[in-house]
Amino acid sequence: MLTIKDLKASIEGKEILKGISLEVRPGEVHAIMGPNGSGKSTLSAILAGREEFEVTSGSVTYQGQDLLEMAPEDRARAGIFLAFQYPVEIPGVSTTNFLKTAVNELRKARGQEPLDAVQFLKLMKEKMKLVEMNQSLLSRSLNEGFSGGEKKRNEIFQMAMLEPNLSILDETDSGLDIDALRLVASGVNQLRSKDNACILITHYQRLLEYIVPDYVHVLYNGKIVKSGDKNLALELEAKGYDWIKEEEKVEA
């Protein structure tokens, strides 16, 4: 579904990603872990289509298409969803408001008829249950005055509405208390299927107790330095990132 080959990227001449390769197949959940400054956010930014980074070499292919050539909206329409680490506040635009346009844009891209107001509301009601979202929050200005948990639940709610093939969750666990984390994780788990895939970007192992990944990759200094199954996350939790840093030093 997604193939990243030797991806290198820099910002203002400084190389952040130094050759990343990753293969994500339908049905898989990949966790990308790493200490601060390892390049996690840069990777998610590039996958989402932010323009401030310069890709200097390598390729990203999504369902046979060159992802790097696609505008952010075309990525969304092709089934990619990014849950933002810091969801933006938009005064005067409610979730309901923009999501109706978004859902219908995606349906159009899939060759489906647009939903009318009634069908859209029905779909919303159904998906709201997933993350225990309430209607009033969705009618308010996006993220304005939302708590950290509400912001992240809103991201997962949108994910449920847009039914992506590939979801990228960028530090969705950061700043969440345990109850909010459970809600978010249970939402994500209910959306898992054999046809869609998920990349979890996270600093902590905590989220992976609730969303069990098929693969865990450790990103350090712009490279994937270790890959394994869920046990790698536990090992990291026990030994800390210093363990990886030490190993890197030895190899160097």
């Binding site: 989402a48 289509g49 932010r50 505008a71 952010p72 909206e73 990525r75 969304a76 329409r77 990014l82 933002f84 969801p87 933006v88 938009i90 005064p91 005067g92 635009v93 408001n97 923009f98 999501l99 346009t101 978004a102 859902v103 844009e105 995606l106 891209a109 949108q158 847009l162």
Partner: protein, 426 residues
């Protein structure tokens, strides 16, 4: 030169003594000062010479009958659930207007009606001061205008639309409407001034509106500018409030080549409430200058101002907001915000808050920002599948709605949002 301009004015005979006196004063002011120029601080950014240059003709009273019902219906907002006073090129059209049947204590009419003028004369020129050549020119040579008077305790059942239609094709026109709205104590009304039209020649609208809100009166005033690209507009809305009076204003400027709006409040007694909502959406070579001033002359009053603008292409916006808090005006609450979004590198905005506070126990805040559309928000919406154009349109719509959504004549909200949206179609 000033005398030459005065000499071109038609001699509109108004026999009433109070008006003659005002007219003489205005003439004397104009002889001395003429029109303002850019060396004056308040007119610094304004190319006045551009709008006074054409050889204007003064429309005659028969202009009122020059547009029939069908033609009028083609203009925006002509069929609201409201009373209508319609003026064509500054003159009243009885045919296009619709006023309530006479009722004790409520008077709605045109100043060209001798009987209405007689009722209005004692109030006329008492709120607007002769502070510029435009006010003076209007005071000496105004054509016609609306008079609304509600006696103590009266409430108007529907809003009154004062529709100023400009149709200029044969010659450049100078149009000078003069309106007077008086709400006696504990009375209430809503009034909407609409400026629209069809002009292939230059048309200068030099309007003065005076509004007096007596004790406990509640007035809602909206000014909508939907003029064409050949229209020049210099407007004065002068408001005087007495004890515990409440006045909301909404100044929405969506079109017109050149606009200078002056909105002045004088708070004469305690516990007045004054709201200033403003929105301007500019494109092309439009020039718009909003000057507002609140004179807090009395204690315990509240004023709140929010002016928002979107400036595209080569358009220019100016905002100047003055708040004066006099020594006796303790416990004043005065707030002011001006926010601008620039959509192009060639767009210009000059914004200047000006607070002068002589009392010590007050709460005043002001803020002015000018920037581009929030790129993070655009990216967020695009990452959900909206095109860049749709994302921007949605953000601009929401931005405008914060002001338009506050209109108390709610029937205006949907059509105005539609007109506003048209401005960002591309």
């Amino acid at each position: 030169m000033n005398n030459a301009i005065i000499a071109q004015d038609p001699d509109i005979q108004r026999s009433l003594a109070p008006l003659q006196t005002k007219r003489e004063e205005a003439k004397a002011y104009f002889e001395k000062h003429g029109y303002p120029h850019s060396k004056l601080e308040d007119w610094k950014y304004v190319p006045v010479h551009r709008i006074i240059a054409p050889a204007y003709e003064n429309p005659a009273p028969d202009a009122g009958g020059s547009v029939d019902r069908d033609a009028f219906a083609a203009y925006p907002l002509t069929s609201l659930d409201a009373w209508y006073l319609v003026f064509v090129n500054g003159w009243f059209s009885a045919e296009l207007s619709q006023v309530p049947s006479p009722e004790e204590g409520i008077l709605i009419g045109a100043l060209s009606d001798e009987q209405v003028l007689a009722q209005a004369a004692p109030y006329l020129g008492n709120v607007a001061t002769l502070e510029s050549g435009f006010v003076a020119s209007n005071t000496m040579g105004f054509t016609d205008g609306a008079f609304i008077h509600t006696a103590a305790g009266k409430t108007l059942d529907k809003p009154v639309v004062v529709y100023h239609l400009t149709v200029a094709h044969d010659a450049p026109l100078k149009i000078r409407p003069r309106n007077l709205f008086v709400a006696e104590s504990n009375s209430s009304f809503k009034v909407v001034e609409i400026f629209a039209g069809d002009a292939s020649r230059e048309a200068l609208t030099n309007m003065v509106t005076e509004l007096k809100a007596e004790q406990d009166a509640v007035v809602d005033y909206t000014k909508l500018q939907l003029e064409t690209g050949s229209n020049f507009h210099v407007g004065y809305t002068e408001i005087e409030q007495h004890k515990n009076a409440s006045v909301d204003t909404h100044i929405i400027s969506l079109d017109g080549a050149f606009v200078r709006n002056n909105l002045h409040f004088r708070l004469m007694d305690k516990q007045c409430r004054s709201i200033m909502n403003g929105l301007y959406l500019l494109s092309g070579n439009q020039f718009l200058d909003n000057h507002t001033r609140v004179n807090h002359n009395s204690p315990e009053c509240y004023s709140d101002q929010l002016y928002k603008g979107i400036i595209n292409e080569q358009a220019t916006a100016v905002f100047n907001g003055k708040i004066f808090v006099e020594k006796d005006a303790q416990k004043t609450n005065a707030y002011q915000r001006n926010i601008n979004i620039l959509l192009s590198d060639e767009a210009t905005v000059n914004t200047k808050p000006q607070l002068e506070i002589f009392a010590d126990d007050v709460r005043c805040t002001h803020g002015a920002t000018s920037g581009h559309l929030d790129e993070e928000a655009v990216f967020y919406l695009r990452s959900r599948g909206l095109s860049e154009k749709d994302a921007k349109r949605m953000l601009l719509r929401a931005y405008s709605e914060e002001v338009i959504g506050k209109l108390q004549v709610e029937e205006l909200i949907a059509p105005l949002m539609k007109i506003a949206a048209e401005k960002f179609k591309d």
